[in-house]
Amino acid sequence: MTITVDDYTYRYGEEPAVDRVSLTVADGEFLVLAGPNGSGKTTLVRGFNGLLTPDEGAVRVNGRPVADDPVAARAGVGMVFQDPRDGFVAATVGADVAFGPENLGLARDEIDRRVDDALDAVRMSDRGGERIDELSGGERERVAIAGALAMEPDHLVLDEPFTGLDLRARESVLDRLAALDADGVSVVVVTHDLRDLHPLADRTVVLSDGSVALDAADPSPAALRELGVRPP
């Protein structure tokens, strides 16, 4: 149950946005991925489930190359996009959260159970009927998180998931991530600010200019600050 990234390089234009990054997310690991704006975090994690195909290098999910079996990669890696609006496919909250489980071919009551459970984790129970366009910013972010949780994947990748969440929602999501992590799910959280994540993180990787600049279980505050990351 791992994600293995080998020599991942991705270019939008001439310059690589991610430059020969190698990285392993171990079974049940809680990994924090940080780094300044434009350092390539989003570009890297979008390769984890094959939404981007690296120009060089490869990603393997649970041992299978993503390029060979994108469907397995997508079932294995749940992803919350940096901008929640990029991830919605349906008009209402409930329909959107159910979208992933439906595609897994689950029975209707299992789908309903997962939707309820995921909405509960983000404190949006009873709001399944609302239109996503009519939610507040933080509510939208929460629905996006619920959409990934409901797939109950082996790995969860969340790109700045706490943007705009209020204290309770943030704590609730952190609790859920901790519980999933304890159950063996590996979690990758992209962020700029380690303050809330520090107690959970097994390891912190910092990108800078597309390369890994730091990879440590407990990085020093000075080193983090130097790299433009808010230390805990």
């Binding site: 996009f81 990029d86 496919v89 008009a91 979208f99 595609n103 959409g147």
Partner: protein
């Protein structure tokens, strides 16, 4: 081929308003003189323009190859008859000349596009159209320029959104329907948010216009345009 190509040719240095005018003048002249002699003269002129604009003629025409069946079909159909002699060349002459005229006009507009930044054209529109219509259309074209790549990305991102949660498991028909509906919903939501953005940024009827400056070079070019129009109406 039919996009702006940075450069420093004489045509690059003309004011976009002048270029728009000359382009229109060529069109008027071409419609007025769709005769072998008229088109021959215009061909010489258009080749000069392409040369001045560093626009390769053959490569440009190749990008319009989708039009070619079209341009050949019309004269062929018109010349054909249902019985002997099966083909009357005289009937095909006029459509053939018309097809040739299309090619010339495509070349002129390619030369324009390759030498004029979209931003400059947009400014020209805002200068040329008076009053509020000019603001709506001039600024509006600028906004279209912003949204065009955005909507293309949107289509791609809907696909990513669906892929990320295994939308590929659904039947094709359902996928097409979802992409269509989600896409439309995004377009409408974007329009509403965009209106708010314009309001917050003080969208006004009398903004400072982008700078455009005509130089001495525009005088001879304008004269050429006037001459073309005169020839057309003469």
């Amino acid at each position: 081929m039919i996009t702006y190509a940075p450069g420093d040719t004489p045509l690059h240095r003309l004011d976009p308003r002048t270029k728009l005018f000359v382009q229109a003048a060529v069109a008027v002249a071409a419609f007025a003189h769709t005769t072998p002699r008229g088109l021959l003269l215009l061909t010489a002129f258009v080749f000069c323009v392409c040369w001045l604009a560093a626009t390769p003629v053959l490569a440009s025409l190749r990008t319009y190859r989708a039009f070619l069946p079209f341009l050949v079909a019309a004269p062929a159909v018109e010349g054909a008859t249902l019985g002997a002699p099966w083909f009357v060349p005289a009937d095909a002459v006029t459509p053939a000349l018309a097809s040739y005229r299309v090619l010339l006009l495509l070349l002129v507009s390619t030369a324009y596009i390759r030498t004029t930044r979209v931003r400059e054209s947009r400014a020209a529109i805002q200068w040329l159209l008076p009053g509020r219509a000019g603001v709506v259309l001039g600024a509006g074209v600028g906004f279209v320029l912003r949204f065009l790549p955005l909507l293309r990305d949107d289509l791609a991102s809907i696909r990513s959104a669906m892929d990320a949660r295994l939308g590929s498991a659904r039947p094709l028909r359902e996928r097409v329907r979802l992409i269509g509906l989600t896409g439309l919903r995004r377009v409408f939501a974007r329009a509403d948010r965009f209106a708010l953005a314009l309001q917050a940024r003080c969208f006004a009827w009398n903004p400072t216009l982008p700078p455009l400056t005509a130089t001495w070079r525009d005088a001879p070019a304008t004269l050429v345009g006037v001459a073309l129009v005169a020839w057309a109406v003469a």
